[in-house]
Structure formats: structure tokens, C-alpha cells
């Protein structure tokens, strides 16, 4: 999916949707591998309580069949972004089998803001009844048509 990146660089989490993000495991050389370890997710930051993060599974996006671990984000408030002094919510994922292995989304440059879709422009239209008419200071001279 294409994320909406806000003006402050944070990822937008619409308050009327849950977001399921697959987890990728990498070996020492960066290749993708599978891992049976159990993970735990938590939100971080001053507004951590405004978003929940729970571990789940999702179909393997590589199409290999089966499922992969994933973290599901869900807004707990209507809005938490720059508009009301909130947002910047981080996400940490801990390998409970090896607790020293912790990944912080902030280290990946990923923070989340909760946005209210009701306040986000999704299209445009002409406000015909609200038209304002004023004199043109430079009338055209061409005859037309």
C-alpha cells in the first residue's frame, strides 16, 4: 500500500482503519529469512497511549504461502498529529526469545501520526454558488471566437 506521508515526515494512520504491517527477518548479510521467535510490539513516545500495536499474523506477502508475523496498528484517539500537538508515535518490536534484540521504528526513520480522515482532503470540486465576480483590468482585444 502507499502510505500517506505527512508534512512532518510521519506516516499517517487514519483513525478509521487498522494497519497490518508484516515483519521481515534478515540474516547477517541482509537476506530475507524466516524466524520462529516470538515477538512483542509496543508504542513509544509522548503519545504512545494514542495508538495500539499488537502482534498478529498476515499472509506471506512474498506469495510463498503460510503466514508471517505482523504488527497491527490501531488509532485509539480521533487525532494525534501536528495539528493538535500530538503524533510522532514510535513503535518497538522485541524478540521475546532473545530480548536483547529490539528494533525501534524511530531508528528506521518511521514515526506515526493519527489523522482524522474527516479533515483530510480526498478530492476537490467547484463551489459554483460561492462565485465572486470582479472587473477584468485588462480586457482582451482579440475578436474571437
Amino acid at each position: 500500500m502507499a502510505w500517506q506521508i505527512l508534512a512532518d515526515g510521519n506516516y499517517a494512520v487514519a483513525n478509521n482503519n487498522t494497519y497490518t504491517i508484516p515483519i521481515q527477518f534478515h540474516n547477517a548479510s541482509g537476506g530475507l529469512v524466516t524466524d520462529p521467535d516470538t515477538l512483542a510490539a509496543a508504542t513509544t513516545g509522548a503519545h504512545a497511549a494514542s495508538m495500539s500495536a499488537t502482534m498478529t499474523t498476515t499472509p506471506d506477502p512474498s506469495g510463498g504461502g503460510g503466514t508471517v508475523p505482523a504488527v497491527m496498528l490501531a488509532a485509539l484517539v480521533i487525532e494525534s498529529d501536528a495539528g493538535n500537538g500530538g503524533g510522532g508515535i514510535g513503535l518497538t518490536i522485541t524478540d521475546t526469545t532473545n530480548p536483547s534484540v529490539v528494533e525501534d521504528s524511530a531508528s528506521m526513520g518511521v514515526l506515526f501520526d493519527i489523522v482524522n480522515p474527516a479533515l483530510v482532503a480526498t478530492g476537490l470540486s467547484l463551489d459554483i454558488p460561492g462565485v465572486v465576480v470582479a472587473a477584468n483590468p485588462s480586457p482582451p482585444t482579440a475578436a474571437g471566437p
Binding site: 482503519n17 490501531a74 513503535l91
Partner: protein, 142 residues
């Protein structure tokens, strides 16, 4: 009874117990051969007992000699048993140490073979995220 000791094997930690066992088996066979010879000599002395005084004197020597040989056989048998038990124990220790080293080596090889499959880090696959509708929260935030 002809005793032909078998050729001795080269000594190392693995076959040392067998090497000692072979020597003791050969010794045991020699003693049994001596016992048989004494028995035959005893029979010969009995047959000719009335013929010469010298043979009578020899007859008197047979029982103590027989007893001494029997005692020697018993001692050797016990020694064999003790040595075999000791060598077997030493062999077990050596085998266990060798097995432990082999196990460590195999584990090391297995670890190296599995290295490309071992996860070192993990991260968010943001590109493959999916969404589902949820009820809008009631709390205003932030």
C-alpha cells in the same frame, strides 16, 4: 597341546585393551597347557609307580606342583579380569572424549551451515502493509 600366540596388533588408545587381553589370553593358554602336561605326567607316574623309587619321589612332587599351577591360574584369571575392566573403563573415557570433540565439531559445522538461515535483525515491511476499517475512536487526542 601346541600354543601359537597370535600376532600382536599395533598399540594405540583404541586397541590397547585388546592388546592386553591377547597377552593375558596367551598366558592363560600356556598355563592350561602346563596343567595338562602335569596331568599327563601324573598318569605316567601312577602307571610306573611300583617300578622305581625315583618315580615315587616324583609322585610326591606332583600334588604341590599341581596346587601351585592351580593357584597361578586363579591369580592370572583374576588379574585378567581386573585389567580388562580397567582397560574397558579407560577406553570408555577416551571414547567419550573423542565423541565430545566430534560432537563439538559437528555442532560448529552445523552452526556455520545454518548461519545464512539465522535471523539477525528484523524490520517493518511497510510496503506490504494492509488496512481494514475500524470504528472511529471517540477520544479526541492527542
Amino acid at each position: 597341546m601346541a600354543i601359537v600366540p597370535g600376532p600382536l596388533q599395533p598399540i594405540n588408545i583404541i586397541n590397547f585393551g585388546g592388546y592386553v587381553q591377547q597377552i593375558l589370553d596367551n598366558t592363560n593358554s600356556l598355563l592350561q597347557d602346563a596343567q595338562l602336561t602335569l596331568s599327563q605326567l601324573n598318569n605316567l607316574v601312577v602307571v610306573n609307580n611300583e617300578q622305581t623309587v625315583a618315580q615315587n619321589d616324583l609322585l610326591g612332587l606332583v600334588p604341590p606342583l599341581q596346587a601351585a599351577v592351580n593357584q597361578l591360574i586363579a591369580d592370572v584369571t583374576q588379574t585378567v579380569q581386573l585389567l580388562v575392566a580397567a582397560i574397558a573403563a579407560l577406553g570408555d573415557v577416551a571414547t567419550q572424549q573423542l565423541q565430545q570433540q566430534e560432537l563439538q565439531l559437528l555442532q560448529q559445522i552445523l552452526q556455520l551451515l545454518q548461519e545464512p538461515l539465522v535471523a539477525k535483525t528484523f524490520g517493518l515491511d511497510l510496503r506490504d502493509a494492509t488496512t481494514k476499517p475500524q470504528p472511529t475512536p471517540k477520544i479526541p487526542g492527542p
